[in-house]
Symmetry: C2
Subunit: 345 residues, 2 copies
DNA sequence: CCCCATTATACTCAAACTGAGCATAGCGAA
DNA sequence: TTCGCTATGCTCAGTTTGAGTATAATGGGG
């Protein structure tokens, strides 16, 4: 009995219990989606491709394509090929994020065709001006998630728009104590209400909450009940194709988490940089300002960087030493990362 | 232009560039696989299903099944249904691990049929003796990964078998400096040679390294070149069906990482427990011994638990206070977990 | 019934780490 | 040359951490 037969047998076994499962393999398509992230001029940007639609004019989406097992041995190979074909970009660092598969999150209701399973990838790159994109353009990720931009303090959209709407949504839940956790608590935790602390990593949770509350355009597009109930629904960030904003939310959350325990921040940096440039890049990703002196102590102390010996002039003040990433840390420490905690400026 | 059409257009666009991609959607099947983990008597166990094969007698595998988008709206729903059908178990906590899709890792070479994409899930549960399994049984995960069991110090198999073999494999790499990182360095980092520290989270890296070196049975099964070159290949742990050992490795790594920053450990505990029982469970997962007094200070200080008021007698000494998980921490802190670091006993 | 081995729990202390601020260095423009 | 500005160095108190010592409360054996 070959391994293939064992699988078959197990399928059959289950099919007997539930005959409808037999047709399970029909019409599944694997979509590969890339959130390609860079930081330019202290702005975290993502590579988007704009497609015309005859309704709204144009919608942004991530580079994506279908996975062909005949063409590519691995997902990552397929992804790199797609991205290169669509944008001309050769990906460096890439990691898998999550596989999304719920029906109804990918296209308009009534849309027929195969069920699409989206595998989201995160890629990090520098924005070298030398590479010119064949298609697509870099846009700030805060464009799609304005409420995530805490670089100039708590974003206004929270106070003016999101919080009031969410309070309405919370109030609409009456007595349904069947929920494992109340809307109120979920909103409080996700959006840091009533003294709760803002967790910059909960990007996906926040987006999903807004989706569930029917407050993002994609919820309308997907024909969600909750979305229909708003008479004056605001536009919260720029929507995207399919479930691409969800994938981007996952990507942002992942980068924000990951730079703390893996030196991935250097994927976004040029070879040589000053410590303050490094700090600005971290802040572009994470949001809050960091204490400059302590940041420098931390980064140097962790052995993440080494001075090149050069300095950068015209900083507006004293010249700054240039540093480079010390790749050897990867061989020395199990989990080197920029262990940053917010502090006073 | 509907969203579906936008997708179509993008596919067409790419197809023009590369005609072979047109057939990409053909023959892809989604497999859902669950690594269901519990801890019984300080032993981390995983639920496995043994299937007969006419060659080797029997092989273990994880509960799995095909995802049917017609049957289930979400992967998790499908997974729960499969697991329940195959084992009688109702899953509690479950999270997606990773989606594996490389050809050649799933069945024997020459095996035809649809390309299988495996979505791995991690589920955590208590082993309640009340539930009797319809199929499958609990087996220690160290059965499949003996080199991961550091509870009684450095496992012998490393010194006696794995290290010598890996050194041979390292030596076989001659002058191919094209590798981004040498075999030697990879082995050193993964297996803590030459003074490097053992990172208990690198379970997958270690398994993949052994696979690549042709040292695990699955590499032989998959017809890997590297596997053929060993004349006296040892058996390293018990092999599994398909890529299930890889999924289990991912699961172990994930649990080990996650208990440090999320209170998932309590998914494995009964409602009431003593702090030492909690510590033993953490140690079953992580390996090294923890400093008892500091562990207690940590767990209590983080507000993860509260005393029930009861005590447990017959501990062999002074009675131990019983505690329960304080679910409210989830609402109080952004990332509560058992921030353990190894220490003296 | 008391002693003692055993486990649980409380408390102490030094070293390391962190958050925050002050101080000094070195460039460029006025 | 002075002043404004950014870079970089250094200090210090409060907190956390690793590790040990001390005390409490059972149960079993004499």
């Amino acid at each position: 009995m070959s391994y293939g037969e064992v699988r078959e047998r197990a399928n059959r076994m289950a099919s007997e219990a539930d005959p409808a499962t037999v047709s399970s393999a029909a019409g599944v398509e694997i979509g590969l989606n890339a959130a390609i992230v860079a930081v330019t001029d202290n702005e975290p940007v993502v590579l988007v491709i704009r497609s015309e639609t005859d309704k709204a004019g144009a919608t942004d989406g991530l580079p994506f394509g279908t996975f062909s097992p005949l063409q590519h041995r691995t997902f990552e190979g397929g992804l790199r090929a797609w991205v290169h074909r669509q944008t001309g970009l050769e990906l460096g660092y890439a990691e898998q994020l999550y596989t999304f598969g719920d029906r109804g999150r990918h296209a308009q209701p009534g849309d027929v065709g195969p069920h699409v399973v989206s595998i989201g990838y995160l890629a990090l790159t520098q924005t070298r001006p030398t590479v010119d994109l064949q298609q697509g353009s870099w846009r700030s990720w805060y464009h799609y998630f304005p409420w995530e931009d805490w670089r100039r303090g708590r974003p206004e959209i929270l106070e003016t728009t999101i919080e009031p709407k969410l309070r309405e949504w919370v109030a609409a839940q009456r007595g349904s104590t069947s929920q494992p956790i109340s809307r109120q608590e979920r909103v409080r935790i996700c959006f840091a209400l009533e003294g709760a602390a803002w967790d910059e990593e909960k990007v996906l949770d926040r987006y999903e909450l807004l989706y569930e509350a029917g407050l993002v355009d994609e919820a309308v597009r997907d024909g969600r009940e909750a979305a229909r109930q708003w008479t004056d629904r605001p536009r919260l960030g720029v929507p995207m194709h399919f479930d691409h904003r969800r994938i981007l939310a996952t990507a942002i959350g992942r980068v924000r988490a990951k730079i703390k325990y893996r030196p991935v921040i250097f994927e976004l940096m040029p070879d040589d940089f000053t410590l303050f440039e490094l700090q600005r890049t971290v802040e572009a990703i994470l949001g809050p300002h960091l204490h400059k002196q302590n940041f420098r102590r931390l980064v140097e102390g962790a052995g993440l960087v080494e001075p090149t010996g050069e300095v950068k002039m015209r900083t507006g003040g004293r010249p700054a030493k240039l540093y480079r990433f010390r790749r050897e840390v990867l061989l020395e420490r199990p989990a080197p990362g920029v262990r940053v905690k917010p502090g006073k400026v």
